[in-house]
Structures are given as C-alpha cells and as structure tokens.
Symmetry: C2
Subunit: 373 residues, 2 copies
C-alpha cells in the first residue's frame, strides 16, 4: 500500500529543516517543494509544459471546484485528473472541506457527519462527508489525497476548537477506512486553531494514524509570531520520517520560517493571484508592474531572474500588456512569480544540503522588503 513514501536526504544542523524525496506513482519530487495550485484544473494560465519548464515538480488541484465544474465523474470518465489536464507528474488534491467555509457564498454548515454547502456557481445544495471526499478524490486520481477535516476555523473559541478537533480526528479514521485505491497516498490533517495544547494533541493523535504524511491546517493569515508558535506545536509530535505539508503559503518569508521548523511541502495560490493583479516578486520585494513608473522601464522585472519572462521581455512590455488588457500579461506575470518561488525552493534545498540554510535565509531577508509594491 505504501506507493507514496518519503526518504530524508539531508538535515540542517542549526534548524529542523531537511531535504528529502517524496516518491509517488507519478515520480519523485525533491523537498522542500512548492506546489502551484491548479484550482480549476489549470495553474494560472500556464500549460503543463510551462509548469515543467519553470521547475514545478508537483501541483495541487481543488476537489470542491472540480466537483462542481466540470464534475468529478466527467474527469473520472476521461481517465482521471492527470489525463484531463495533461500533467504527467505528481499531483495532490485537497479534500474539498475548505472552500465551503472560505467562499462567502457557499455557506458551509458542519455537523458530526459532514459539511453541507451551496455551490458558489448556481446555489445548488451539496454535502461532503469523509467518505464522499475520499470517493471524489479517488475518482480524480491524484497521487496524494487529503483527509477530510473540519475547516470551520474555530480560532478564538476554545470549546469550538476542541469540538472541531474531535470531529477532525474521527473523520481522519473514517477517511483511512474509506480508501479503496492502492496507488494513492493519503495525508492526515493537524488542526487545533490557535491553541498550542490542541495542536500538540492533534499532532499526537493524527501522527499515530497510518497516514503517508501530514498537513498543518488552519494556519492561514496568522501573525508571524503566532505562526511560528503554532507551527512548532503542530510539528513537534509528528513522526519525523513522514512528509509535512503546510497549506496556502503566501510569501517567501513564510516559506523560510516553515522550512526551518520542518515543513517539507507547500501549496501556493498567492503567487498566481498576485500575478493576476500585476504584483510581481523581485529580490528586493514586490512591485506592481501596472504602476506608471514602469511605462518606460526597459529593464527586466528582476535582473537576476532567469525565467522566460525576465530573459525575454522588459517591464515596459509587460506594463503595456496589462494596460492593453492582453491575456499574455497574466501569463508572463504568473511565469515570473512561480519561477521566482520555485527558484527560491531550489536555493533552500541547496542551503540545507550544503549546511548553509541560515546564510541563504540571511541573504534573502537582507534584500527582501515585504513592504514593497
């Protein structure tokens, strides 16, 4: 059953950072790794070849979105999600539990057996349970699938958080029992809101279940110090020989922080969303290419970046594409932002391997200003 396995290849002596190989039915990836998110079976406006060219090793798709459009049965009929979107590398899906609570229009309502919600597209009613989620993810056929968890974001409410956690733990067992495919790995979800105690308890409980890896859930949009504390509580009790995934990272600082605490994989929608607005990463922080100052700037976005966008086009050209409403704007911006993040992962892996992660981090932070753009 262990088609998904994790092999540690190096550990940092001065932090909990490590490098590894995550093996799946569609090949292995080098960790720490960043997974671009293909919400609707497409990453930004990039195609699979471009993803490979910029160094994406594994991508993530959203079960909720694909369930609603075009439908998981339809994707199953065509031979699964790999085939549908033309991606032959490793693929992860989430459980579908998150969106009913993050999309305002979906009105997720949780009970002990599952989540009821309205489609954000047409308002139609649907219900996900642990068993439904596993069934949908088996139809999609990703290499790594996630357990269904209570994502109703308890945060400040301790009683709610404790109840949600019990539910997430019961559902974790139900997800493991519901599996019928042997070519997919499954990751369990560590929750616990903003309580260190609940996070430690969750990691102990879920970490003892026979998952192929673990996701640190519910840490979106926390202040940096909070994030550090909660990450540490979540990670301390997890088995060290299994991969740990952090959902929805936003910026390079978060990645360094998490890698140094022992996170192996990330999914990242933010770089794609920022690109859509013309917000681009550079080594000194973000810039917005639609600003007037770029109208006559004939330099590349980032002179040290070797992505296709930076090697080929000027800021003035990309500014022009945004100004003219040309679709290529979005794509060139997405290529750059993802290439920037994927290149950063490469430097991080090199840092761990060479025992120089602290220096890589220090060099990065010395130039980077998150106040940019």
């Amino acid at each position: 059953m262990a088609i998904v396995s994790f092999q540690l290849t190096a550990t940092d002596r001065r932090s909990a950072a490590r490098t590894g190989l995550l093996h799946t039915a569609h090949g292995a990836i080098k960790t720490p790794a960043l997974l671009p998110v293909a919400t609707l079976a497409v990453v930004g406006s990039l195609d699979p070849l471009e993803l490979t060219e910029i160094g994406a090793q594994m991508i993530m798709a959203n079960t909720y979105h694909l369930f609603l459009r075009p439908g998981t049965d339809r994707i199953s009929d065509v031979g699964g999600l790999h085939h549908f979107l033309g991606w032959s590398g490793p693929l992860m899906t989430d459980s579908g539990a998150l969106q009913p609570f993050r999309l305002d229009v979906a009105h997720g309502r949780v009970d002990d057996d599952g989540v009821t919600f309205s489609s954000h597209i047409d308002g139609s009613k649907h219900r996900f349970t642990p068993e439904v989620s596993v069934d949908l993810q088996e139809k999609l056929g990703a290499d790594v699938i996630l357990a269904f968890a209570d994502e109703s974001l308890p945060l400040g409410d301790e009683l709610h958080a404790a109840n949600a956690l019990d539910r997430t733990h019961r559902w974790a067992r139900r997800c493991l029992e519901a599996r019928s495919r042997s070519d997919q790995g499954m990751m369990g979800i560590v929750q616990g809101g903003i309580s260190n105690e609940l996070r430690k308890k969750s990691a102990s409980y879920v970490g003892a279940l026979p998952f192929d890896g673990y996701v640190i859930g519910g840490l979106q949009s926390r202040p940096r110090a909070d994030m550090h504390r909660l990450l540490e509580s979540s990670l301390a009790n997890l088995p060290p020989d299994k991969p740990r995934h952090l959902a929805n990272v936003v910026s390079p600082e978060h990645i360094f922080d998490a890698v140094e605490r022992g996170v192996d994989t990330f999914d990242c929608l933010a770089a794609i969303q920022l690109a859509r607005q013309g917000t681009l990463f550079t080594l000194t922080g973000t810039v917005n290419i639609t600003a007037d100052g770029f109208r006559e700037d004939f330099a590349p976005v980032d002179s040290e970046c070797r992505c296709y966008t930076c090697l080929t086009f000027s800021c003035a050209y990309i500014h022009h594409l945004f100004d003219a409403g040309e679709l290529l704007a979005n794509r060139l911006a997405t290529i750059h932002n993802l290439a920037f993040m994927l290149n950063l992962m490469d430097r991080i892996r090199g840092g761990v391997r060479d025992g120089a992660l602290r220096e890589v981090h220090g060099e990065f932070e010395a130039r980077w200003s998150s106040a940019g753009g």
Copy 2:
C-alpha cells in the same frame, strides 16, 4: 538597399502558384506563408516561443494600434519592435492607414495629403500622412513595411475609386522617397476597389515602382467569385519576381484560391479571433467547442492535428476551460487554429514543390465544409 529579396524556388504547372524564399534582415521565410497578426504586439495570447513551435515564420503588427498604445517612440527607445515583443524572426508592419476606416469609432477622414482620425481609445485627434507612416514604421523597425494607401473603401463608387487610386499612387511615390533606413523592405499597395480595370491599372503603376513586393489591398469580405476576378486583375500586371501579399485572409479556401493565382504571403487575424470565441478549425470544417456536445467528448479537437493542444488535451478539457472562463482556453484554441493554418501552408508548399497542388487542394475541399460549426 535590397536587404529584402525574393527567390522563386518552384512553380506549379497547372496554376500560378509558386514557392519561394523571402529574405529579410531577420532571416528568410518559405513561401507561401501565413503571418499571424500581433495587433497589440502580441499574437492572441501566445508568446514568441510558442509561435516558433507552431511553425510561424514571420508575424505582422499594426502600426495604428502600436502608435496609440504603447506609442511608437517608446518602442523605438527599447530598441524596436523585435526587441519589445521578444520576436527575433522576420516581422512586417502595416501602414496604419486601414484602422481609421475599419474601427467605427476612429472616423477616418481622408484628404489629398493624408488621413485624420480619432483614437478609438480616448478620442484624441491624430493625423497620418505617407511621411508620418514611414517614420512610424521606421521607428518600429520591422523587416518589411507597407506603403500608406487610401483605405477608405470606395467599392461601388467608380469615381471615388478612381480618385482614391490616384491618391494611393501619389502616396506610393512619397513613401518610397520618405525612406531613410536601408534594413527594411517596403511593399507597395495595389488598390482599385471592385473594378477590374482600376486594379489592372494599379498593378501596372505600382508594379513599375521600385518596391520589394506588393500587397493586394481592399479585397476583404468579397464574395468568392468576385475575389477570384479581382485577384487575377490585381496580379496579372505585377512583376513575377517580387512577392505578393494578400491582406486579411479568413479561411483555408481563400488561401488555396489566392495561392493558385500567385499570392505568396498572407496575414491572418481571423484564426485568432475565431479561437477567442471557441471556434476551432478541423479538417471537416469549423466547430464551436463551447457547444454542449463537447462536454463529454474526450477526443482531441482534430485527431489528425499534431499541435500541442490536440496532442495533450481533450475537447472536454477545452470546453471546461471556456466554461470556467479560464484564460488558458483562449491560448489552447489559438495554438490549435494557427497550427492548423500553418500546417496547411506546409502542405500547400509541399504540393507546389511536388507538382501536386491540385491534389492537395482537392483532398482538402472534399473534407472541408465551411458550413461547419
């Protein structure tokens, strides 16, 4: 001065079709050739690498549009249009004379010295003359530029047509005199509305001027029989050793018709515009991929097509992308439509070379139905 030259490599015995090499400062192209149109310095949503991959040899950009946005001076500052859009192959620009009469909002007004019009973006007033057009095109720096012509579409009005033709001829001389760059070729424009006599007269006049090639202008949207007649009148008196360009072809039938009458190059915006609406070429005609019937069609758009889109994705996936409003929809559709047309050009060149153009044409027409989709 003859940096642009044309070399005939084969002629068809049963028609006026021929193959050749058009040499420019940025390399040679094999003719008959189709030039995808980069209206705003981008072809559909494709990037230059993709254009090369699908077999585009030369592309065309629109001086009117680039003059207004981002501005010809700005493009000149960055080192010219090749550099601005990252295309290192041969490039053609039009004269800017057409859009003031084709965009309803531009309200082109012609007089003996030039054309006055309003920007379709902000209504600002501008004036193009032959000298202005050459200056703008020299700033853009394409390999082949076009003479400025009266594009006010006289069609049915013989007196207007004769006047417009005289103007076009006077302007042709002014354009030749206004040139200051030696690395660009210039093509003259044959006009004459729907009159055979005027077209023959125009071809004799313009054909005697020292242009590097000739454009058959003003033949958009004519019925097929009219098009044949007017093409023949336009081409009969042109020097056979210079390339002939037909502006704005729409469909494969037009290309066969024009090649067999001696046309060497085409520009084509239609394939890109159709792709945007989901109208795709197949060997049996056009289909609209957004139609319900494609929702569960797991075959490629055209099973004989070897473009990236057809080799990688199903109709169902492309339908899904259009349905979900994903930008990748546009791109995959554009890749296919242009690849389809460029592949057709390849077959046409092979047909001329092997003395089998009639058979290639016959096979194509036997399957193609322009009533499709």
